[in-house]
Symmetry: C2
Subunit: 179 residues, 2 copies
């Protein structure tokens, strides 16, 4: 399916409530555990989504509209949440994510994008030339990547507990795929 602004907004506006329903007041045994080593917990992932709202999607859309390919996007800090979330309870992070997402979607609607704007190009510091529609579709794909990851991180905590059922539970076979 091609990128469609209304379809993207419909998904983007549901992510905060989805994570809120899944994670708020869930025991910390679920939310603070990761998949080992330097992998991320659900708590870390919500912090990462917050940092994306602040620095990634709408700011990059504005760079495309204002500067086109002449100015590369600022690189994204994939570890910012370990500094910015420190000391905050998960409920506060969920509130913060919901508020930032609502504000960003209001800004996106306020841009008054016309059909021809979606083909406008910007410059990603690693990926090179990208279009505004690719950026907006990637925002959706990024949300879904992290819902996918959170379900996997939570399931990992029961990897042993499920016993022989692990062969039937696809999420337990997933090793993650992010570059």
């Amino acid at each position: 399916m091609e990128h469609n602004l209304d379809h993207s907004i419909a998904l983007l506006e549901r992510t905060p409530a989805t994570l809120n329903a899944l994670l708020r007041d869930l025991p910390e045994a679920w939310t603070t555990c990761n998949e080992g080593g330097k992998t991320w917990s659900a708590y870390d992932i919500v912090g990462h989504l917050i940092h994306g709202e602040k620095t990634d999607w709408v700011p990059r859309a504005r760079i495309i509209l204002e500067s086109g390919e002449s100015r590369a996007f600022d690189p994204f800090d994939r570890l910012a949440q370990f500094r910015e979330s420190a000391g905050k309870p998960l409920g506060q992070l969920l509130d913060e994510f919901a508020a930032l997402r609502a504000e960003n979607l209001a800004q996106l609607r306020g841009l008054g994008l016309r059909p021809e704007d979606f083909a406008r190009r910007g410059r990603h510091p690693a990926l090179g030339a990208v279009t505004l529609s690719e950026l907006l579709a990637a925002w959706v794909g990024h949300d879904l990547t992290h819902v996918h990851q959170i379900s996997r991180v939570l399931a990992h905590q029961y990897l042993e507990a499920v016993g022989p059922w692990s062969v039937y539970l696809g999420v337990l076979q997933c090793a993650g795929h992010s570059a």
Copy 2:
């Protein structure tokens, strides 16, 4: 982490609200599309979860408690939703899933399980001997497998639309892992 009944219930009781937040009133372009061929859409998956509530988890727990290994579980029908969901709008399926899950968790609490019950054994028709704690942990893992799958099926619809970002979006690299 070992199986813990309170932790399992905390997750199991959040799944209906999680799927409700993600899927209710989402455009059908998202919810009725699959990953090609005979793969499942989000709509199909909610129907599958409903069938599990009716025939799988709590009924199997009762078989363990009543008959132990002397009676194998009834095989699970993985295609029941194509018959049972027919003609129902997704909102109705989400309501049905939420009601069945609430009833099943009330029944689970009503069993008054004691610590020693979790080691009691039953017989899975394909996996062989399993314990009650493995069954309950697998119920949680099954929910998470399908949250994982739904995020992947939704993301698949934007596989082309994200352009070069696909390399960064782990959910788009996931081919599914269910046996």
